[in-house]
Symmetry: C2
Subunit: 244 residues, 2 copies
Amino acid sequence: MYKLIAFDGDDTLWHNEPLFRQAHVQLREMLGHYVDPEQVDDRLYQAELANLSIYGYGVTGFTLSMIETAIELSDGKISAEDIHKLAETGKSMLRAPTRIIEGAEAVLRQYANHPKYKVVLITKGDLIAQQLKIERSGFEDLFDGIEIVSEKDSLTYRNIFGRYGVEAEEAIMIGNSMKSDVLPVLACGATAIHIPYEITWVHEMVDQTEIENASIITAESIAHVPQVIEKLEQEKTSGSMEHV
Amino acid sequence: MYKLIAFDGDDTLWHNEPLFRQAHVQLREMLGHYVDPEQVDDRLYQAELANLSIYGYGVTGFTLSMIETAIELSDGKISAEDIHKLAETGKSMLRAPTRIIEGAEAVLRQYANHPKYKVVLITKGDLIAQQLKIERSGFEDLFDGIEIVSEKDSLTYRNIFGRYGVEAEEAIMIGNSMKSDVLPVLACGATAIHIPYEITWVHEMVDQTEIENASIITAESIAHVPQVIEKLEQEKTSGSMEHV
């Protein structure tokens, strides 16, 4: 039987990626005099990738990558005023209200303080930014534990499950990112439920063959999660390991 | 008897504040055309304080606060090139080797895998930046646990001690910051050992009366920590609560 249900935060319980997309649009417009929009997206993504190992995931690093991109693509001609605007955009992103995804609260409440399950939030990004989002969500008390991590790989998941005293086989992770919430979870022997989100950051995209080689369990929306979990429990009880 | 020994990281096990001071000097020089050095320090500190609740402690937020300060104090006249230099300074800070404080390794090794004590690192700041410092320190395997937190207040300490299954009375925290490593630890009923560092960020300074009202245990350097702990253990055993 399953003993731990873990939820991703960004774009699983609350909207996140749209804030980044809006910032992209602003940067494209700002650099419209200098370069094509595609070049902006491309260069920004290169900067984000290059900076990931020191900035980590999150808005402060993203803001610095936007500033770097603006300076480089404008060949140093961007004004201090425009750079100030980019910094302000970062602040607005950090101050933005947490927009809950429809159905998330009801599902969390269904599992909170459940006699069978520990409920854990596993989210990656800036420590303070994630804490602010969690506080604003009002969901804090619905979790048995909150884990803010810098990277979601198999080792991260294995360590977290271990800390909560459950085997990987007893854990279910639910999230929107194939790369962060599904594949590394499957790799460590736990179960994952994928909930596709409307948009995906290119860094979180995975090669189609990686997905085809794994048996992915999908929930159409977070509201469908309880029925998927129920089905998984039944399959486990009946001894079948078929996750279809 | 004590069961848990916790160490702060920045400016307790490794040097940190000097990197920030060097960045201050660079910013002062850069803005020398526009304003007096004192104004730079003052305005930068105001920006850091104002941004703390969204950026948290750490280099990415500090870099953004430097950029904000440069734009404001130059009245928007600062060049993109100079802003680029500030961003690069932030990156150098994040990439800088971890400079271990003399004596830290020997003390950590003395307590690592100790039959009596759990040894925990409790550090605040950017998640990824702290992880990089820990990795580079080579100390990772000497800790029973590593806790990277966004704020070091009494609640934080109480929660951490709880997670390791010890009472506050059984825990000792060692660090350089009165504000973060000593006073909140004493407030939750645990023991703290203060090791003064050569320089202190103004935000970590506390009012002298706060210190006078508490009985502060000081170690001259980290190398002196074991003898202080030994003395504390003896006092505890003999029933005396005098920490002189």
